[in-house]
């Protein structure tokens, strides 16, 4: 059983544009799958991801069960090399994840 949402990140700056990639480890159960005994596996999916850079929320995503298992998200914003941004995530069971990333 997971206790925390694990977030892997990569962020690279080129000509003032930061391209960030997030890989979040999450089962993303749709609530429609059944286990071996034919019981429904309860719904459990990623809900919100917020990215804050220099006090600005540059990215705030909402996610439903239609997103693949272990969601991959890529986005871009204007930023500088060496700066840091934070990524926060929560899911439908109230689990949270947090990470800080340095732009390369």
């Amino acid at each position: 059983m997971m206790k925390k949402i694990k977030i892997r990140t990569k962020a690279k700056e080129k000509k003032g544009i930061v391209k960030a990639k997030l890989l979040i480890k999450h089962p993303m159960e749709s609530g429609m799958r059944k286990d071996k005994e034919g019981k429904l596996i309860p719904i459990h999916h990623l809900k919100e991801v917020t990215v804050v850079y220099k006090d600005e929320t540059v990215f705030a995503g909402e996610f439903g069960t239609g997103v693949s298992k272990d969601p991959f998200i890529s986005f871009a914003f204007k930023g500088t090399k060496g700066d840091k941004f934070t990524v926060d995530a929560n899911d439908s069971k109230g689990l949270v994840g947090h990470t800080e990333v340095t732009i390369k």
């Binding site: 919100e48 917020t50 804050v52 929320t57 439903g64 069960t65 239609g66 997103v67 693949s68």
Partner: protein
């Protein structure tokens, strides 16, 4: 209870950590998860729950790129970009999924309107991207053929 010096610092350190965590929570500006839109069963209902009655125009300024044929519906890579100014959000819908709204991403002023993600598709369907910019909705759609579904199992 006997408190050794070591365990005292341990306890104090822990509670300080919790206090810091609790204090830091309200600062996160979560995208307010729109339950009504995510649980809507049809495309029109999902769009209505998400955007209300804003009018939608089919726009060439929204670039949706998706594979024409997806071998595995469990992972279909979709990218959306737009040159429109002042883009507030990008949302993805799959018409024939049990819940059509897949994701909605809100962007800040310094973010660029280009996103990429992987989605699930139950069967062959139309994928729609809606970009909210300047108080208007701009739409682009593409048919994606799925050979193996990614929902249920």
């Amino acid at each position: 209870m006997k408190l050794s010096r070591r365990s005292f610092f341990k306890t104090v350190g822990k509670s300080a950590g919790y206090i810091a965590l609790v204090a830091s929570l309200p600062q996160i500006a979560w995208a307010k998860w729109n339950e009504k839109a995510f649980t809507a069963k049809t495309l029109d209902a999902a769009i209505k729950a998400k955007f209300g009655d804003l009018s939608i125009v089919d726009s060439g300024d929204v670039k949706l790129s998706a594979p024409a044929i997806a071998e595995n519906g469990a992972m279909v890579q979709i990218s959306v970009s737009s040159k429109l100014p002042d883009v507030k959000s990008i949302s993805l819908f799959v018409k024939d999924n049990p819940a059509p709204l897949v994701t909605s991403m809100n962007l800040g002023p310094s973010a660029l309107a280009q996103i990429k993600t992987r989605i699930r598709m139950g069967k062959t369907s139309e994928v729609t991207a809606i970009v909210e910019a300047g108080g208007k909705l701009h739409r682009a759609s593409q048919q994606v053929k799925v050979t193996i579904g990614g929902c249920g199992g």
